[in-house]
């Protein structure tokens, strides 16, 4: 599949990397020669230096024969304009990043199939995290009857130090499964012999109704936040604050810039906007932020976000989620106390990948500190695996079936579960195995 990406910024280069790892033909168009050279050096793709909105550049990039066109420069106008140009020369599907909500309706009329807004996608992810405080990840499948939950194993968790096969003996009602473990930045698909260590970041599939017993084993406690402090007055911060207020969560936003804070105070009546240094412990004290349930560090600087999160933890706020631009930092910071990480590029990539995988694959989830994906695929009558049990299939070691959706019911499978035509499988897979997922469906 040929994919043209306009703009090699944070979102663009991440997508290019991601898609090229999956053996797609990626063409990146970037106007800044330096940024273009960077991409060329790091990613296996074709890079063209030029204006993505010009027809000439697009033809050079082969956009007329491309299956997918993704415009993710920092300018709404360039994105819409280039998507329009791509529509005219005949690209099959077009995605554009548009942040201004007032432009959205018009952009669709100009031939954009999917509009993405990384800031809004991040805010949505944050809202989920805050509502289910205590976990790093929370994704719903099959209309909410299955959940994929991420969390860090605490030192006193009952499961700590046990191999998964041993853990199984302690549990009678099997309604959950450890899908993957992220340890020191490496993602491991879980097997029976895999041992859980304190500090591991685990991804587990649970049947929502019985989620609590699983969470207890891992030492995780869900508790919706009632009071949240947001550090930073960025666009993501504002969008998140807006969402939290709509959920009835008391939201306090802190930033140093009085003008930005004032603007946010004017536009969001329910947000309490405070001017001050978000890394100053005294401010946490004088403004009464210590009794917040969570702190979200969403300034534009990774350093301030990390420092702010650590200060928040130090003054006693139980949960800290930080926003990162440099994703390599996320894995390095394992164990320093930051409970979750978000990044706009990942949230945007999620949305786009979901769209890329359209067809037999119904939904896709990506994670903050792992390149594994969770995909939902439908098994057709013609597939080889129909009628076999999971044990008989001999799946690649880089993927695991975490859930099966059958008719209106969804469950976590065991080795002897038998696959039927029309089932939807929820598969957690490493990037190397993603192209194999499609083969399962037949």
């Amino acid at each position: 599949m040929r994919i043209v990406i306009i703009g090699a910024g944070a979102v663009g280069s991440h997508l290019a990397e991601r898609l090229s790892l999956e053996h797609q033909d990626v063409v990146v168009v970037e106007s800044d020669p330096a940024a273009a050279a960077d991409v060329q050096e790091q990613i296996d793709c074709l890079v063209i230096t030029g204006n993505g909105a010009s027809q000439e550049t697009l033809e050079q990039a082969g956009a007329d024969k491309a299956d997918l066109f993704i415009a993710v420069t920092s300018s709404d106008a360039v994105n819409v304009l280039s998507a329009h140009a791509a529509a005219k020369i005949g690209t099959a599907r077009r995605i554009a990043r548009v942040e201004d909500p007032q432009l959205r309706a018009g952009a669709v009329a100009l031939g954009v199939d999917l509009l993405i807004d990384p800031g809004d996608a991040t805010a949505r992810d944050l809202e989920l995290l805050v509502r289910q405080r205590g976990v790093s990840e929370m994704r719903e499948f099959a209309g909410g009857s299955l959940e994929l939950i991420g969390g860090y194993i605490g030192p006193d968790a009952p499961a700590a130090g046990l191999a998964l096969s041993d853990l199984r003996q302690h549990v009678s009602d099997w309604s959950w499964l450890v899908a993957a473990i992220i340890r020191h930045g490496e993602t491991i698909i879980a097997r029976g012999g895999t041992r859980l260590m304190p500090g591991d970041h685990v991804l587990i599939m649970v049947e929502t109704e019985k989620a609590n017993s699983a969470l207890d084993m891992l030492g995780l406690h869900l508790e919706p936040a009632k009071k949240v402090t947001i550090l930073g007055a960025t666009r993501v911060a504002e969008l998140t604050a807006k969402r939290l207020c709509q959920q009835g969560i008391q939201t306090i936003l802190v930033d140093q810039d009085p003008d930005r804070v004032r603007r946010i105070a004017i536009e969001n009546p329910r947000v309490i906007a405070v001017v001050g240094d978000p890394t100053d412990p005294k401010l946490f004290h004088s403004e009464g932020l210590e009794n917040s349930d969570a702190v979200l560090a969403l300034t534009g600087w990774d350093e301030i976000n990390i420092l702010g999160s650590l200060v928040a933890k130090a003054v006693g706020i139980p949960t800290a989620v930080s926003r990162f631009h440099r994703l390599d930092l996320v894995t390095l910071l394992d164990g320093v106390g930051i409970d979750g990480a978000v990044s706009s590029r990942l949230s945007a990539a999620n949305e786009i990948l979901r769209f890329v995988r359209r067809g037999r694959i119904h939904s896709v989830v990506t994670f903050q500190d792992s390149d594994a994906e969770a995909l939902e695929v439908e098994v057709e009558e013609s597939s080889d695996i129909v009628g076999k049990t999971l044990r008989e299939i001999h799946l690649s070691h880089d993927m695991i079936v975490g859930g099966i959706v059958r008719d209106e019911r969804a469950f976590v499978p065991r080795g002897q579960s038998r696959i039927q035509a029309g089932d939807r499988l929820i598969i957690i897979a490493l990037p190397d195995a993603i192209h194999l997922v499609g083969e399962l469906s037949g």
Partner: protein, 483 residues
């Protein structure tokens, strides 16, 4: 500050009020009051010639008016206008003393409706109409009228209107202010005609209907009978209630609502204005519950509407209501109609902003470094307006208290000896352009008993209140007169 231009604009405004005196001349002729007609004509001619002379003498340059010139012009025009407005009373001898005539004219132009005439029905028709007409002109603002119809005032019209219009910010309906002024006057005239016709259809004569329409739409309150509106049928009273309510609402809002009626409910100040009225009416109904229920409801609603809109008509004597209700009556004298209406006093908009600003200050105690924005409904109130509203409130209270003290001293020295309720309510009522007060100046009596110096004080307070303090207070600051 160009004194020539000051003189010229003031001359024009005085001249315009002189032209208005020709209307009562016509009425006097119709009712065969030939001597009055002659005397009022003389008054009109005197006023017109002085005004024209000043206008001609001062007319020199056409440069843009500055804000402070606007304020000075409005303040001085109103004082000059009130002096010349006394001429019909004095020339005809209906109100012979300058003090009483000035009081009556001030109560007219400022739409206060306080009176020193023992029985209005003894006045001639010509003078009665002049009385009503002063209120009608003062209601929407004679300067706004001048802006609308006199091209020579075109430049700087906004500065003048800003100083004259009730409320903290004049509402613009059109890009050009003169067009806005015209539209406001069209709505005003339209409502006045409608009310006059409805009243005429009831038990009022055409003359009474027109006079009452003039004084209702301006929230003035001058009547033609000693019993005020109590002299007319229940039907007439309900009509007046409706039009008082309309007159106390913003005319710019009326204009917008002509095409989109939902605008009323979307307007926060309107909801506040209506809400105060409904709650106060219910309290009054419960508090006076006795006898004929229809009368109780009508009297309560009438009194509350009349006080909140600062009209000042009376049907019931609220001086004999229970003491607790009289306290409410006193409080309602401070509310007033909406910004951009013809009503006086503090305006629900300002009360709302004050309330919200105090709430914001309370939140600041909890979050000392928080940035809080004052809002009224969905609208953000800019800090500058919050500050001006707060200082308006301080000025208002300060003037009310010193005025009460001064009136107390004056009445004591003159031997009339007003008690606190009489002094305070007389000042609150005059300052808020309401009309009747409580006790010695209650609805069943009038301002005849106030000593001469007290009348001057109250007349002055009426003008200060009508122009919302600043244009008049500024006249006494040195900065205004500096080059």
């Amino acid at each position: 500050m160009s004194r020539y231009r000051l003189l010229s604009v003031i001359g024009a405004v005085v001249g315009a009020s002189g032209v208005a005196m020709l209307v009562p001349v016509l009425v006097a002729l119709i009712y065969a009051e030939y001597s009055d007609a002659f005397q009022i004509t003389l008054a009109a001619l005197a006023t017109i010639s002085v005004g024209t002379a000043a206008w001609r003498y001062g007319r020199s340059d056409d440069s843009q008016l500055t804000v402070r010139e606007g304020f000075a012009i409005v303040g001085l025009s109103w004082i000059a206008m009130t002096f010349f407005g006394t001429l019909p009373y004095i020339f005809t001898g209906e109100i012979a003393s300058l003090t009483d005539a000035f009081f009556e004219t001030a109560a007219g132009f400022t739409t206060t409706g306080a009176s020193v005439v023992p029985d209005p029905s003894e006045l001639s028709k010509g003078i009665l109409l002049w009385r009503a007409l002063t209120q009608w002109m003062g209601g929407m603002g004679i300067i706004v009228l001048s802006v609308a119809i006199l091209p020579m005032l075109g430049v700087g019209g906004v500065e003048l209107a800003r100083a004259e219009s009730p409320g903290p910010k004049p509402d613009r309906l059109t890009p050009r202010f003169r067009e806005t002024a015209k539209r406001l006057w069209i709505v005003y005239v339209g409502f006045t005609v409608a009310e006059a016709l409805l009243l005429w259809a009831g038990d009022m004569s055409l003359f009474e209907a027109v006079a009452h329409a003039f004084t209702t739409m301006s929230t003035g309150g001058f009547g033609t009978d000693i019993r005020s509106m109590g002299a007319f049928s229940a039907y007439a009273q309900w009509v007046v209630i409706v039009f008082m309510f309309l007159a106390g609402a913003s005319f710019a809002l009326h204009f917008r609502a002509l095409s989109r009626p939902k605008e009323y409910l979307r307007n926060t100040e309107f909801r506040l204005y209506g809400g105060i009225m409904v709650v106060a009416s219910i309290v009054a109904i419960v508090g006076t519950w006795a006898g004929e229920i229809g009368d109780v409801i009508r009297d309560s609603v009438f009194t509350v509407t009349s006080l909140v809109t600062t009209t000042g008509y009376a049907t019931a004597d609220f001086g004999i209501w229970p003491a607790s209700l009289q306290i409410m009556v006193f409080g309602l004298m401070f509310v007033g109609g909406m910004a951009g209406s013809t009503g006086g006093a503090m305006k629900p908009y300002r009360l709302g902003v004050l309330y919200q600003a105090s709430k914001t200050d309370l939140r600041k105690v909890i979050h000392p470094k928080g940035v809080f924005v004052v809002r009224l409904g969905r609208d953000v109130v800019p800090d500058q307006i919050v500050k001006s509203v707060q200082s308006f409130f301080l000025f208002y209270m300060f003037i009310f208290m010193t005025g009460t003290l001064a009136l107390g001293i004056i009445t004591d020295v003159a031997g009339a000896g007003f008690d606190l309720v009489s002094s305070a309510s007389a000042v609150a009522s005059s300052f808020g352009n309401v009309g009747p007060g409580l006790a010695a100046v209650g609805p069943s009596s009038n301002y005849v008993l106030v000593p001469a110096l007290g009348k001057w004080l109250l007349s002055f307070l009426m003008i200060v209140g009508r122009l919302e303090i600043f244009p008049i207070v500024l006249l006494f600051t040195r900065e205004l007169w500096r080059r």
